[in-house]
Symmetry: C2
Amino acid sequence: MSGSAEFNSIFYPNSVAVIGASTDFNKLGYHCMASLMVSQFEGKIYPVHPSLPEIRGLQVYPSIKSVPDKVDLAIICVRSSLVPSILNECAGKGVKGVVLITAGFKEAKTEVGTQLQDQIAAMANRANIRIIGPNTFGIVNLHANLNASFTPEFSLTPKGNISLVSQSGGFCHLIAPLAMEEGVGMSKIIGLGNRCNVDFADMLDYLADDPDTKVIMIYIEGIDGARRMFDVAAEVTRKKPIVALKAGKFGAKDDAAYFHTGSLAGQHEIYIAAFEQAGIIGANSSTELLDIANALAVCPLPKGKKVAVLSSQAGPGITMSDVCEQHGLVISRLCGQTTKRIEELLPPLSMRSNPIDMGPAWYDSEIIKGVIEAVSADDNVDSLLFYTAYASANKPLLKDITTLLQSSVHQKPVVCCFPSPKGIWIEEKRQLVESGVTIYATPERAAKVLVSLVKRSQIVSSLEQP
Amino acid sequence: MSGSAEFNSIFYPNSVAVIGASTDFNKLGYHCMASLMVSQFEGKIYPVHPSLPEIRGLQVYPSIKSVPDKVDLAIICVRSSLVPSILNECAGKGVKGVVLITAGFKEAKTEVGTQLQDQIAAMANRANIRIIGPNTFGIVNLHANLNASFTPEFSLTPKGNISLVSQSGGFCHLIAPLAMEEGVGMSKIIGLGNRCNVDFADMLDYLADDPDTKVIMIYIEGIDGARRMFDVAAEVTRKKPIVALKAGKFGAKDDAAYFHTGSLAGQHEIYIAAFEQAGIIGANSSTELLDIANALAVCPLPKGKKVAVLSSQAGPGITMSDVCEQHGLVISRLCGQTTKRIEELLPPLSMRSNPIDMGPAWYDSEIIKGVIEAVSADDNVDSLLFYTAYASANKPLLKDITTLLQSSVHQKPVVCCFPSPKGIWIEEKRQLVESGVTIYATPERAAKVLVSLVKRSQIVSSLEQP
């Protein structure tokens, strides 16, 4: 059985059993049932509980054995001591995928916990069962309307092509609300937990061939056997971008990471170097991780590092140029023809070479359109950064430039920042985003994203070389 | 006349004239009138235009001379060549404050522009007129319902105690929408423009004594005569915190800064060092600038740099600790008594020393309350960082801990991150913010803010030493 088929029973199941399903709000089995129901999962749902007759209108089965059909995925949220026997029953039933939410294994740092984890890992390996967990919040696959987690609200995340593989469930609970807030579409959200027989490498390998995943985000604190992950990652980044956030830079929390998922955090710097070598793009914060992934999912890649910075207000234009230069991009010298055209368009009282301050014409859509057109067509320009803030005199601007800004026009990425008061330019921004333009709330975030697009482009080019 | 009284005619005028008021959407005088009207300014408004009889229901005067009353503030948005004669009329009328929106002065880099600016500066100095500008978007004082700018939507910014002095109007158009989005309250928003006779130093001096300003943000690209600004700033930071964002780190944009406001950007590093020496807190991005100012306006200052990091999900707790340690804060060793109490409360399977992972008890409000109580009372703890993400099982948590988290309880700052899906924990967060707790969208932002609170505390302590 290929890795892909194995994991499809977890991410695209036809039937799911919830072992430990409950009607008691204080039990995770209650929330797991709620998640499955609100996600409008279209497959079969089999709640398993020793005595309850019915949960949320569904028939309850006293054990997984008594479920009349095949079960693809079992979500387990019983107490830890019961897990081995439950797993045994799952094996008997032919279950191939398990999401094991229960905690109290290796992360407990007790002899019992460690033994229990070793025991279930051995059982799962023998029975060809893949376990996400233990000690996980679960997994979500928005493309299958599957919320196999204890948090129903994950189903509110917009559907898209970015998947997250995380060593921390808490981090998933941070990223999903950010994605909702920013309107960033996600595909799979995976909390690896203690990784008893499914690790980063397995998930990267699976997502590399997942048609619903275009960009992979990973959040990692530190793992044993990181080499295998990096070997796999080096292959995966040939196909799809991976963006990574590494936590645990300093010493004080090695213990915390240990307690959290049962592994000592490795040396931070080694990870950062290994990211580089494997073609993984490193992010410096959770915001940056999502920002970069979003752009990689939406934008074409720039052919090189020559950027044109256009702003209707010079200050933020300077800020964007700063970030670009700080990270090795080139504020490109425009072609003579472009310069000539810009000098026709803009009065001499503005900065007409790159960065271009369209300040004196900030409320004149026609001039701004002319500048965008000239700059986009310039062979010395690989990408555009564009800043324009709302002021009531330029209200029509965004609508006027929508078509021109579409990345498709010149196959060059356009990364924008359009600050506007609440309720203004909403529809205009929506249309731009739909047409492949990415928009960020600050000039620094926009420029940082472009830096990563260039980085990805360099990674891709280096692979293409013989 | 004291500096304060002089500038009060600009920021707290009883009567405002708009010279160049217009009914034509394509003229800035149209938007300036709109701004004054929507801000519900309670003083007198006198539109001035040579021929129009009425604008927005208000009587129009053919010149400022013909206005029957005293005029405190004149907003001027006529073309540049007319400005000297208009200024002359203002002097004759006894106007003391001018917001000069018109562009085409020193920033135009033409002989005419430079001469014009020198001319009006000399006129203003002779007549004791203070000019904000030229080449500015204007100023806003939310405490006086005064929007003397060409963007009416500035009046949507929440009212609070943070003032912004900016070399760039475009930057003001970035910060105000961010403040609206984040619910950060502002006081005065000032675009200095070309600074013909009002510069950073004057505004810092004025805001130092402004009862409606608790924290001052500055955005600076580079100015001539920066020494005077830093001398004044060193005095002001004894009274109030100043947070600064410096743009123009790299060379390519020196020209852009020049064009923008008529001054060459100075060397970036010199500014950064001078910030430090003047007790100014430096920010690295626009988001950070606003985040830090917000915390300084709301939180008590920590007595020292010993932080307790509490998280209901270890991953983001590690991230927060990372940021703290990276910036020299101390993840403090808890007192024996605190440790004992925490060990009673939390099961051994969690990290019970600092950072504290309350993971295994993340849905148990009583345990979390106990931990907060123990840690807050610890003399080895100067401040708290607290992270808890929403998951449906912990929905009641935020309500349960509101009272405990209030900074007032222990006079220690509490900086939080509470990620939650759209529509959840809204009211709980509002109450917390009202009671002096600051909440940020990511653990990195929360931790970065705490770093700055500690920095401000160190600045204050160093001043108190003999």
